[in-house]
Symmetry: C2
Amino acid sequence: MTTPHTPGLHPVGDAARPIPPASVARLTIYLRALNSLLAEGTERVSSEELADAAGVNSSMLRKDLSYLGSYGTRGVGYDAQYLTRQISAALGLTLDWRVAIIGVGNLGRALAGYPGFLSRGFGIVALVDTDQSVIDTEIGHLRVSAADDLEVVLERTRTNIAVLCVPTAVAQAVCDRLVEAGISSILSFTPVVLQVPEHVQVRKVDMSTELQILAYHAHRAQEPDLGPVSRAL
Amino acid sequence: MTTPHTPGLHPVGDAARPIPPASVARLTIYLRALNSLLAEGTERVSSEELADAAGVNSSMLRKDLSYLGSYGTRGVGYDAQYLTRQISAALGLTLDWRVAIIGVGNLGRALAGYPGFLSRGFGIVALVDTDQSVIDTEIGHLRVSAADDLEVVLERTRTNIAVLCVPTAVAQAVCDRLVEAGISSILSFTPVVLQVPEHVQVRKVDMSTELQILAYHAHRAQEPDLGPVSRAL
DNA sequence: TCTTGTGAATCCCTTCACAGCT
DNA sequence: AGCTGTGAAGGGATTCACAAGA
């Protein structure tokens, strides 16, 4: 190791060292597992138990947690409540995130209607569409804004995350407007590779890709409907 | 290379060596990029062009394609049509995949209504729900079946992929029934870690996790709404 | 000359194994 | 004695750099 700072200090906040991407993704899973455990009344949890609930190896869980600091007690385990707070803090979930849904077709409407999806720290603050027949209608408890006013709406609602649910054909154009308007976190449900400047984070949710990956594995395991091939296993 | 088979032969099928998971995921992206290019009339494409369209490094693209075989021409590039077919074959998309959507709430209905989502090779063959008020209604061109008949419906429709859109609380129980009924490919939209036997493939689509990952990066880049912290970059 | 295909090097992620603390 | 936290080992994945071939 060549890091010059004293180890073990600076457990959180400040200019914390970055958490590996793979760990960040799993921390969100641990958080959900902890919520379940807390709901059941669990107060203390071991790395083994939590790892099982999250579907990972216990040493991986401990290594993931070690990026945040030392929040467990040797010989005992972790305090579920405390660990939840620490993970939340590390992920930035103690701040409030204002989400705008851009495009309220079938999918956008479904997302807007699922308050469960938007858990702690996230709130939908705007719905935007181009379709005159939905503009100014109410979905959930929000009025749909006109796409023409996109920039104004984002500004007024202080949106810091945009969820993109527009048709494929216009996705890049809408994305460009979002970036231009200062949005730097985008969750895209469109199956296009969005071209964005470096400082903008894009995450993609893509059912089509996931289905194709499933198909690949199933296809390797055995031909799906035609003649049975491999019988072993 | 130590592979004993003659190179260039066995372009597909048989007992092909496995493609690394990371590559499989990207191959689906290349496929989509190729479709766009083909739609524009492109016939030949270089690794550089295709890599740009897919948002990856060109040597990574070439390495990914090398797992399938040698389908390019040195000094020239790839034939878009031909490459598309080869990738499709490698992913098993030439077979037909029958998808059942389990749970037709807001989200399930939105997915059922998006024929665009279910691209080549995939077709929705069944919709299943417990709600008496939706059973036997038509969504898209399909009649919703009763969850009680799940096993019969899966059998009759020869479903080989199930999409799980049921409420969190019942997700594991429904998943167990799917597995028991012989389904071994599941795409889950529920934010739970499903416990399944080894031979069952589960992929998760999870908006909540993606939002939290975005939050983490935004939170590190700068405090989102409170005082500005880091100004550099 | 141009672009592919691929060993080699590098980087990152996961697992192992155990020291260190309760 | 028990469980966490972590160096070290091992395994993938990505990038580099260039030989091979049109």
